[in-house]
Structures are given as C-alpha cells and as structure tokens.
Symmetry: D2
Subunit: 428 residues, 4 copies
C-alpha cells in the first residue's frame, strides 16, 4: 500500500504562518492501532503502513502574495459544504495572505465555457455567514467533464491550487486532472476534500456532514416510531442514504434504539421464507403491535435492481424502499391482518441542512489542513482522518475501493444488540 504523497516540487519559501508549531514531513500516523499486528510487522522486519500527518509546514511551495486559488464543489449536497468553503477562504486569506480566491459554479461544469457559468470571487466578507446556510453557495453538478478543457481553464485563469470537494467520482477526475497537469508540466496543485454523506470513502474514518446526517436521520427514525405507535399495527419504514455502505442507517438506528430491523448493503437478507424479513416482521407485529424498519438505499438490490448507470457513472439503484413497502403490504393482506404502514424517504431533507457545530469544527480542520497541503505543493491527495489524527492520503489509493460497515466490528454488533434483530437468512 503506497501512501507516498505527490509534490509539485521542493517547498523553499518560509511559511507566512505566525504560530510556531509546524508538522515535520516525517511525522506519520500508523494505519493499524492493533498492538499485535504492528508487533508482527516489526518482527517480520516490515515497516507498518502509515499516513503522512497533516498540518502546516515550515516551508511552502507557492509565493502567497501572487497566488490564485479556486474552490469547486461536486456531486450531491452534503451538510458542511459551505463550512468547508468558508474555512478554506478564511484560512487562505487570514493565515496565508491569499487574496485571490475563485469559486467555480456548479461543479466541474463551471470550468467549461459553453455552460456559461461565471467564476465567483470569494472573500472573507462574502463567506462570513454562509455557514448558517445548507447546501453550497457555489452550486454543484454531477458527472464528468472534458479533462483537457478543465486543465485549459485552470491554466488560462492562472489557478495554482484547486480545492476539489467531492466524492468518489470527483476523486477519479482529480486523478486524471493531475495526470494531465503533470503531462503539461504545470505547477498546479489539486487537493481533494472528501465529501460523502454515506461516509464510504476509503482511508477517512469520518467524513464531514456525516454527524449532521446521522442526527437528522435519527430524528426521522424517531418520527417513524411515533407513527408506528400511533396506529394499530403501525409499521414505520424509513429509507436512508447509503448506496454501498450502511453507516448512516446503522449509526442513526443506535441513537434512540427505536428501530427493530436495520437493512444495509453489507448484510444480505431474505425477504421471504422462514427466516425472512416478512416472517420476522409478522411475528413482531403480533407480539408488540408496532415495528420500525430502517433500510439503506443500497440494501437488498438483488430484489429490485434496475441496471444501468447514472451520469456520474454510478450503478443505478432499484428503489428498495418502495419495493419493501409493496411486499409488506401484500404480505399482511395475504394474512388478512390490517396494518398501518408509513413510508418515509427523507434524503433531501437530510442532505440540505446546515452542519451541526461538531461537523462545523471538523470542516474547519479539514479545510485548514487542505490549505496547508496545497501551500506546500502537495497534489493528487486528499485530507483524511485516521485514528483521531488528520492525515494526507494519495487520491490514487482512495479511489481503489469503498469503506464499508465491518459486520464483525463494534458498529454492526451494536446494531444487532440494540435492535435484537435476528439473522434474516438461514444460518450457514
């Protein structure tokens, strides 16, 4: 696992940062905190995997007085986007004296002239209150754009650091963009800031907005519980985000422990049959007269897959929420048992809220460390967090996979403890 960070060149300029504490380039954070594993590495003479520690460096690569930077937000909305934008601008301006900061409108579209989106100038004044607003003041869009045209725009506009806030697809674009930049021998740094409401980006134990999203999702599960209690044989069915990873569903279900079934992409389940969801749900209803089901959008795709990909190149998902709704209604009709099913799909309401203070502080750290990286000439990398430290991770490593819920670890074990949910498949 190659965790080496790419540099534009040797940083030779004294950092304009006034505070005395800098991070050295040999400070690294262990990947694995399991004592036995690390001991094994050393016994084998292998150096254990580690990430470069994030933070301000003594020397910077760019002459800040003439520097022009740009910020772009890509993909779906996520709480905290405006906080990241704001902290990038404030850190660039107040800590490094960068006064020339552009906002790119509507994601990568903003680089492509035919869309006609003008650049926006970003100043401490113009961003001063945007943290109170959900969404992104820059707008966003999905899907790839012509890479040569993007780099043309960067060069033409004399942008020397681009902060790209996005997910998987954006990071694949960053990888290609830096390749093109490298080929052209341009001194342009591209720094990624991971944005994924699903919290599924590799090598970042936490992503911004996730804390906020879990909070709202937990409230929604609470609403489903209230609805389930409020009617005879009430069933609350909540579909949450989580295309490949059930972190939101699992975490939100732990808040009030109101959910009785949590279905996530990582854990297969039967719908029919003696161990299946319908049978177990039926038993619960007869026993307790109400139930709450939480399903991540990527769960159970073997039942409802539609095929094809969307404009970002992601596999198009079938709607497991509506599918389950239908199956549950049919099942209880077949049993001649009147139920009251309330189906809730809150995703736009979750992703559009302003960030919680906790996420806001986290966004600030991400942005500061992204600025430190860019100023030092690091490129093709992202700011992540690992073992409670901020680290720099090569983009090329990040795009090799997805972070998922470990069915053997504490999160899922806690969900099983909290819900009392049985295995929804015959045991093997």
């Amino acid at each position: 696992m190659d965790t080496t960070i790419e540099f534009l060149g040797e940083p030779k300029i004294d950092s304009p940062l006034r505070m005395g504490q800098f991070v050295e380039n040999d400070e690294r954070i262990l990947f694995n905190v399991c004592a036995a594993g690390v001991a094994r590495d050393f016994a084998n003479g292998t150096e254990p995997v580690s990430f470069l520690k994030a933070g301000p460096r003594r020397k910077v690569f760019f002459d800040t007085s003439k520097l022009r930077c740009a910020i772009v937000t890509c993909g779906g909305l996520c709480p905290g986007l405006n906080n990241v934008i704001r902290s990038l601008v404030l850190t660039l301006h107040h800590s490094y004296g960068v006064t020339n900061i552009l906002g790119i409108k509507y994601g990568l579209q903003g680089f492509i002239p035919r869309y006609g989106h003008p650049f926006v100038e970003l100043t401490p004044e113009s961003v001063s209150e945007i943290n109170e607003l959900g969404g992104t003041i820059l707008g966003s869009s999905r899907g790839p754009q012509d890479m040569e045209a993007i780099v043309d725009a960067l060069v033409r506009s004399n942008i020397r650091i681009l902060f790209a806030i996005g997910g998987d697809g954006t990071f694949r674009a960053v990888s290609k963009m830096t390749e093109e930049i490298r080929n052209r021998r341009e001194n342009i740094s591209v720094v990624g800031i991971p944005k994924t409401i699903d919290n599924d980006i590799l090598y970042s134990s936490r992503s911004f907005g996730f804390n906020t999203a879990v909070g709202i999702a937990a409230e929604v599960i609470g609403s489903a519980h209230v609805e389930a209690l409020g009617a005879p044989n009430g069933i609350g069915l909540v579909k949450l985000m989580g295309r490949h990873s059930g972190f939101i569903a699992a975490s939100a279900a732990l808040d009030k422990r109101d959910a009785n079934f949590v279905l996530i992409p990582e854990s297969d389940f039967d719908i029919e049959g003696p161990h299946g969801l319908l049978q177990k749900l039926g038993e619960r209803i007869l026993d307790r007269r109400h139930a709450v089901i939480v399903v991540a959008e990527g769960a159970g795709q073997r039942y409802c897959a539609v095929g094809g990909t969307d404009e970002s190149g992601n596999v198009r998902l079938g709607d497991i929420g509506l599918y389950l709704k239908d199956q549950i209604q049919r099942y209880f009709e077949s049993k001649d048992l009147e139920i009251n099913l309330k189906y809730i799909d809150p995703s736009y309401l979750i992703r559009s809220v302003p960030a919680t203070p906790n996420d806001s502080v986290f966004c600030g750290f991400l942005a500061q460390n992204a600025v430190h990286a860019g100023m030092a000439g690091k490129t093709n990398m992202m700011v992540g967090t690992w073992n409670d430290e901020f680290v720099y991770v090569p983009i090329n490593l990040v795009v090799t996979g997805r972070k998922q819920v470990d069915l053997n670890d504490k999160l899922w074990r806690s969900v099983l403890e909290a819900t009392g949910q049985p295995p929804l498949k015959p045991e093997e």
Copy 2:
C-alpha cells in the same frame, strides 16, 4: 346561526376551583369584529352573532369526587396530542380533584370490545413527561364505529365526561353519540377538542399543532430552496398537507419567502397554456435558474382525481405532487432543457414531532377550557378560539362546513406579494 350550547342540566354544585375568577354564562364574544358590520346589525335591530366565552364556572354539574372521565384521540397524528392529554389529566386532577381518568386506546376502536384494546389509567405521574414526545400515547385510528356500542361502553364503564380529540369525522361521531346519549337520557357529557393539522375546522381561528406544522413545513421549503440553488436549473417541489384548505402551504411559504409558486385547493390554476404553471415556471427557470414550488395535497384535484372515499369517509385525493413532478419533467424534456427536480413529501415528518412551546401553551388553554366545559355539564360542543378569546361552539354548527383560505384576505394577499406569483389562469 345558532350558537347555543347544549347542557346536561343545571349545574348546582359549587366549583372546587380555588382561584376567584369565574366566567359568567352571559359573557359572549362577537363573531364579527368589523365595526361597520356590527353597526349594521344594531341598526337593523338584529343581535350580532356571538359565541359563549370559555372558562371556569361558579357551579359545576358533576360531583368531582366520584367522577370518571375518559380521553380519546382520533384520526391522523398532529403535534400537541400528548400536550392536550397531559393538560386534561393535570387540570382534572389538580384543579378539580378528579382521580379516575381513563385513556381510550386507538381512537373509537378502543370502545369496541372485539378489538381487544384495554383502557389505560391516566395519572399525573403517567403523563408527566409525555409532552416531550410526538404522536399520542393513546394511539389513534380512523373511521367510524358502531355508535350504540360506543355509548354502551360509556355507560358500562360509568364514564361521565368524554373528551374527544379529533377532526371533522370525529365531530360528526360526537354529534351522533350525544344524540344517542340524549335518547337514552344518560348524563354523559361529550366535549370536542378540535384536532386538524390543516387548520380547517370551522369557527376555530387556530387549531393546535398548526404552529408546529408550519414551522417544520417552512424548514422543508428551506431545504427545497437549498436543493434548487445547489444544482443547475434546480427545482424544488414540496407537497404539504392541506386536503381542502391551504393554510399550511400559504403560511409556511411566508416564513422565508423562498417559494415562487404556492398552489392551494382554494385557488384554481392552469398547468398548460400561456398562463399555466409550466409556462411560468419555464420563464422563471430561464430568468433565475432555480425555483421552488409548494403544493397543498388538495390542490389541482381536477387534474389527478381518483374518486372514492377512505375509511374516514373523506374523498380520496389524487397525488398532485407526483402528478406535477411528472408534468414538469415532461415539459422541460420537451423544451430540451435539463433541469434538476427534487420532490419532497414530508407529511409524516411534520405531524409526528413534539409541539413547539407556543403550541404547547395553546394546548394547555384548550384542555383547561374543555375541562371547565365538561365539569359544567356542557355537551355536544367544542372549545374553539375566536378573536383571541377561547369560546364554546356547538358541534352541530362546526360540522356544517370547512374553514378555507379567503382569497381576498391578508394571508393569501401576502403570499401573492411574497412570491410575486402571477395569476395561473387567464383573467376573466
């Protein structure tokens, strides 16, 4: 308009209330506050219409020491149900010394033995924290039940005051119930507390939960606005409650003034044509690149009616939200303009939250005045609020129609001012 309140009989027992201030039975609140109208009445020798003022009376009808009361919640959820239950129990217990209070489970079903829902005992302790919870601790259900069986249950269980918290359908049931009680010459008082998240009950200028609902609905419109701003040609479409009356949609749209089109049942609109919604929406998108539409569920039924009635006897509505979503998508496809439409239907999330403090205080007043009415032997009436006063209104008057948004009055005029929305029909 007969506003006379029905009594079980002359209240002869001194009220156990300790505070000195009582309301006299000749205190009445004018229906009309328009000076000219009232002057006209007097000039014509007509007595202007007025409602009996609510409040505690010097004399009560029931001997509180032996009294058994019951509380039932019917129909859909509404913020504040638990606050009303709690305040009824606390007022009955602490102010009148009534210690025998039953909760009826799952609405009128709870009276019918074959459903097997046991009565619940309600005490100050058991209700002490329920105001923190959404929904109703008693559960609710829709639909009528056999009236003789209900009155049988009241008589059998020796219930002497029933507090019925519900809407239109419940009040029609109350009307029949009191008729049956009258025929049997039983001394049972039935007091209605209006519960309608749509705020559409006649002769009550405000209903509990409406304040809370508008607040959440306004947040949802804010989310739709964030989504609309967050993508090129973004359109946020929000479907809100409002079967026959657009109060929630109109009021919520006034909070942040983010909505550009507000569609309510009271105001007909074209979808097609030069004045129609699609044309005007298209102009807005070309001009401003984003738009927010708020539609009450009962609006535009001429486009999407499905016919039939539900179990409560209400006309089944077609889904105007999904209908508009389809129409808008088709329209812009036909214009070859790529839009980003986000459709949000938050109704379960609105009705299941706990009440705001403002609604909580209001619920307390309603409950206190309902108890005062019941103790005084008033029956077949509801507690309402009119011209900033609490009043008692005969149920038979209430069920004669529905309160709707007056298209010529301040609320709708404000919406038109705030949205700048053009008439969506050719002017006549």
Copy 3:
C-alpha cells in the same frame, strides 16, 4: 380614545400593487369583542371604539419611482429584527418598486453626524439571508438624540418614509419627530413598528419576537427543572425579562408546567411571613424535594429598588433575581437544610436568537402593513394587531401607557392553575 390616524395629505396616485384586493379607509376593527359591552355602546348611542384596518390602499401618496425610504432599529435586541428589515426591503422593492432604501446604523445615533456611522444601502440581495441571523444587521443603540438634528438628517438625505422599529422610548421620539416635521411642513412619513420583547406595548396584542422568546424561556425553565431534579433539595431560580409586564414569565411557565412559583410585576408578593415565598418554598421542598421559581425582572421591586433611570429614561431596576437567590440561601441556612440552588439569567441568550417561523411570518405581515401605511402617507402611527387583525394605531395613543397581564384574565388564571401557586400574601 382618539384612534384617528394622521395623514401627510390626500393619497392621489394609483397604487402600483398588482393584486386586486385593497382595504378601504372605512374598514375598522372593533376594540372590544365582548358582545354585551358593544351592545351597551349602541344602546347609549355611542359609537364603539375601533381601529383602522391595516392593508394596501388603492391610492398612494408618494411617487414610488423617486422615493427614498429609511429603516432604523432602536433599543435592545429582539428576535425578528432582521426579518422585519428584510420584509420591509422586499416589500418596498418588489411590491412598490422602491429601489432607494437606506439603513440607519446603531439606532438614532445613525442620524447624528458626530457619531460617524455611515448609512447603509439595503437591497433585496443584501438582505436575502439575514433572516437566518439573530440581532439586527443595522446595529442599535439606546437613548434619545437631538430631534432637530434627526429631522435635519431626514431632510438633508431626502428620506421620505422612515420605518422606526423600536419600543416605548422610540415611539416617544417618533411623536416628537413628527411634530418637528409637521412644524417644518415637510412631507415625511414616520411609521412605527412595535419592538418589545416584553410584549408590553399598548394596543398591540402581540409583538414580534415574543413567540420566539417564550420558546427559549420555556427551554430555560425546563433546564432549571432538570437541575432541580438532579440534586437533593434542588431549586432552580430563573430570572426572565419583563420590566413592567410578566407576559414572558407567565407564558413560558405554561409550556411544560414545570414552574412552581411565577413572580411578575403585576402581582405583589411577600417574601417573609406565613404567606410569603420563603415559607411556601420551604413547604414545597420538604414535601417534594425540588422546586422551580420563575421571576420577571420587574417583579418585587419594593424589595430591591435602586432608584435612578438609564440612558433610555427607563427606571433602573434592582436585581430581584440575585436578591431572591440570597434570601433563599439565607432562609434555608437558617433552617439548617442543605439545598442546591441554581440561578439562571438567560436574557442575552433569549433576545439574540433568530426568529421562529411563526414570528418570521408575523414580522412579514407587520412589515408589509407598515409599507402600505407609509406609501399611503400615514404618519405618527404604528402597525399593531388586535382581535386577530392588523390595525393602524396613533403613536400618541400608544405612548400613554403599558400593556400588562390582567390578573383576572385567562393567562394569569392559567398560571395559577398550572403552578398550584398559593396567594403569596395574606388575603385581604
């Protein structure tokens, strides 16, 4: 009671408002909704008192295309100030086409050159998100300023309508300002918008920010209750706003009914003696082991008065909260009973929050009706709300007194019912 509104002159210009519904100048709202009282008036041949109904008029006084308006916020902070500013600007701009709107900085100071506060230009863009923020973007200040200098500034800057958002002191200034304007025969309209977090302005049944303030105050009382429950013999003591009127304390206490004693300026109480607060509190602690006391800042001034007036000319209040804290601690020390007293004074936290949606909508109505009044050339008046209608009330009438809690009416009766609080004085 003279409710006649002062006009600059006959409005002769057709209103540019597009919607068809106007309010006529003979539409008036009855002051009294008590049927018997009005009947008595008519029987006596007296016309009952009424207020002019607020709303847009067919004819306006000012030519909107050249009009310059100004907005000033005075006195202490109150939730909703920014909502009023925003709605004034949006209504002036979008409904009447007024594009020249000035914001006066830091209250009446902003008119006086020596303070050096420049005017701020207000546009729909500059105010578009200010409703998300607490406080006032214009800043505020207390205290009177030289009236001639203010009118000089109005004339010099060619301001033709001034919207003055403030309380009692501000309204007295408005009264003098319009007198000076009248003497100079200037065509300048001054429209007051009542701002009082205490809700104590005469002839306005509700003031903006009050709803928000009660909500936060209720949460604080809830916190005091949590603290009281959390320790042996826990006592939560909360000081709330309310210099002359206990509306916040009384209303907030009704939310969760957690308060056991509510002390307001309108209701005198003993501290010592067999009926006094200390004795009753001691009984409560022995009986229940916890208690919550809510005291409005203006209550019990006979115990803690300090004399003198502040810069706004208001009587300086003694700190009844700290006084009671000391008295309670001494009392229980003298009884050798260990208590845990937690004293909370949340006033800055209450007045600085953004408005609730409910208050926000209300602010919108106030602002719209203020604009309608100003455009029609009305002056020396305020926008109020009475019997659920918006009305125009002469400032000279408003400054004659203060609205207070009626100890014989429903609010205080409800507080006594909810707290079970005994009379804290020997009965007369």
Copy 4:
C-alpha cells in the same frame, strides 16, 4: 505505565450473548499512533504501551440469571447521563438477561441509610423514554461518603456489579471502594463510566456530553457575537466550563470562528501591559468596533483565586468571568470610550440539555462496553475511547492526572489560526 485490568476471577460461564463476534483478551490498542515513536520502542526492545480492547467476551464471570446490578450517577450534570442509564439497563436486560437492576438515588448519598433515599427499580419500560430528558433520573450529588458504609450497602443489597458514572472524584472513590471490596474478598465488580463535561479525564479521548456541550456553547458564542454586533463598541464576554482544561472553550470557538480571544487554563495570559488582553481588546475595538471573548472558568486563576476546596475536594475557583468584566469596564472607562459589554454565563443551560444523537450513540457504546466488562468480572476500571476504539483502562491510572489541551497540537493551533489572537504575554 501499567495498563493491566483487574479481574474478580476467571470468567468460566458461556456468554449468553447471541451474536457470534467476541473480542479476545489479547486484543490491545496501541497508546501511541505516531509511527516513529512505536518504531523506536521496537528498536529498543520495549513493548509499546497499549490498552485492552473493549467488547463482549466469550466467557462471563457472573451467572446472569441471579445477578443484581446497580447504577449510580455522581457529580455535576452532563448531557447523556440518562442515555447511559438507559443503555446500561437495555443491554443488561436484553443482551444478558439481567432483570434485577437498581438505581441509586442522588449519587453516593444513595448508599448511606441516614439520607433516606430509597433504591429505584430500573426496567426497560421505566427507562424507555428517559433519553429525551436532560439531567439524570437518578439525581446526583457531590462529595465523598463513608467507604465502609457504601460497601456495607453493596453487600447487604447483594449488588454484584456497580456501574459508577462520574468524574475524577468518583473514580478516586471507586479506587477506594474496590480496595475495600478486595479486602473483604467480596465478588463485586465496580465499573467506571467517565463523566466530565470538561472532557478532562485521562486516557479517554472523548467523554460523553462533550459533543452536546460544545454545540450549545457554540450557540452561546454566536449569541455573544450577535450582541457584540448589535451595539456600538459591543463586547460579548462568555464564560464557559473548563476548570483545568479548555476543551469546551477551544472547540466551541472553532464552530463559527466568531470569537476573537479564547482564554483557557492551559495558556497563561497578561491582562495589563502592552501585550495584555486589555490593550489588544482596545485595539480590536478601535479597529472593528466589536469583539467576542471566550473564557474557560479555570483560566487566569492567578488574578482571581479565592483558595479553599469545595465539597468534592476540588480547588475553589475565583470567578474569572466577573473579574474580566470589571477589568474591561474599568479599562474603557479610563480610556473614556463607551462600550456595550454583555456578559453571559450559560453553564447550567449547557449541562442540562438532552444529548445530541451523536452523543447518544456514543453513550450507547460506552454503556454496552461497560456491561461487557462487568459481566466478565473486570473491576476497578473505566471504559474509555482511544484512537477511535473503545478500551478498558485501570482506574488507578486514570486518577493520576488530568487531560489538558496540548498547546502545540492541532486544537489550540486551530484556535490561534481561527481567532488571529496574538500571544497575550511578552514573548520569552
């Protein structure tokens, strides 16, 4: 550093937990994640320090069917107490089948007969909604109690696992309690759950309630900012919790970056002199006309110390908030500059709120891991979190010191970056 966990004896009973995933007793989490440090240890032949990983074990020590457990909450309130209580009860009951759970009232007082606090029975039903409430349903108290009497009570009541939720002082009591238990050769396990709103407990990187507290504290700083902006030369001064550690002040200041000065116990500062706070504040006011100061209660004690200790044995702090308030007012009076200073002390409002969903989930993990520890016969230990893992740490290690803000690490560096605050002392 001895991280060995004390056991009552060998756990021999098969765990009743149904899910298959257990944590082995040799799974340990590295203390240090810095790669170079660990490499150095291995090079030196030293085993790097590590903590035992928390989680369910295959074998338990206690026979769950007959087991009686108890829960006690000690010291000041902290958001999440009820969540921990609830999760302990639900995990004991649902996961291990323990049906006999006692709640001890009012902290350690609850064990001492002369206080007369009866034990409370805790069941899944009785705790089902307590997570919605702030504070602790058990009540709490400060100060030590006779250790023999406590152990007498444990033995007499046949309590075999005691879950002690508290801070520093409580943990010192736990240490003595287990010593007494050891001396008596009783099989009683005592498991600590760290409760410190200041987040200052050693070897736990995060404590419950901290996330919630930072959120509310950040809102309060926002209010102070609104107040500072709302008046000419406005200064908002906020005193936050933090007796020895400035985590709340530092973290909350990072949310909106509204604070200009953050004063914490770890960083000494001058008040007078050319580098002192007053001089720098004066410069800020002249430059920007408003300022916000956040001070942790333990900061600057050299200016305001009062001496002595409180009933928990903690050093009594002087009130630095009021001291600064006075100093600031005097300073500007001496400069003849009128300021508007608003002083806010929100501590009771912060510690009494319900936990955020994020904290609630965290409380669940703590409680589950505490139960796993107790069931396995571990004692005299606490559940902590380290490097994103849950771990078990010996109490005797925990009470050796306090966690403080590292002035050279990212949190404080971020605060300096965000505030732009100069060193408030002459550089050495």
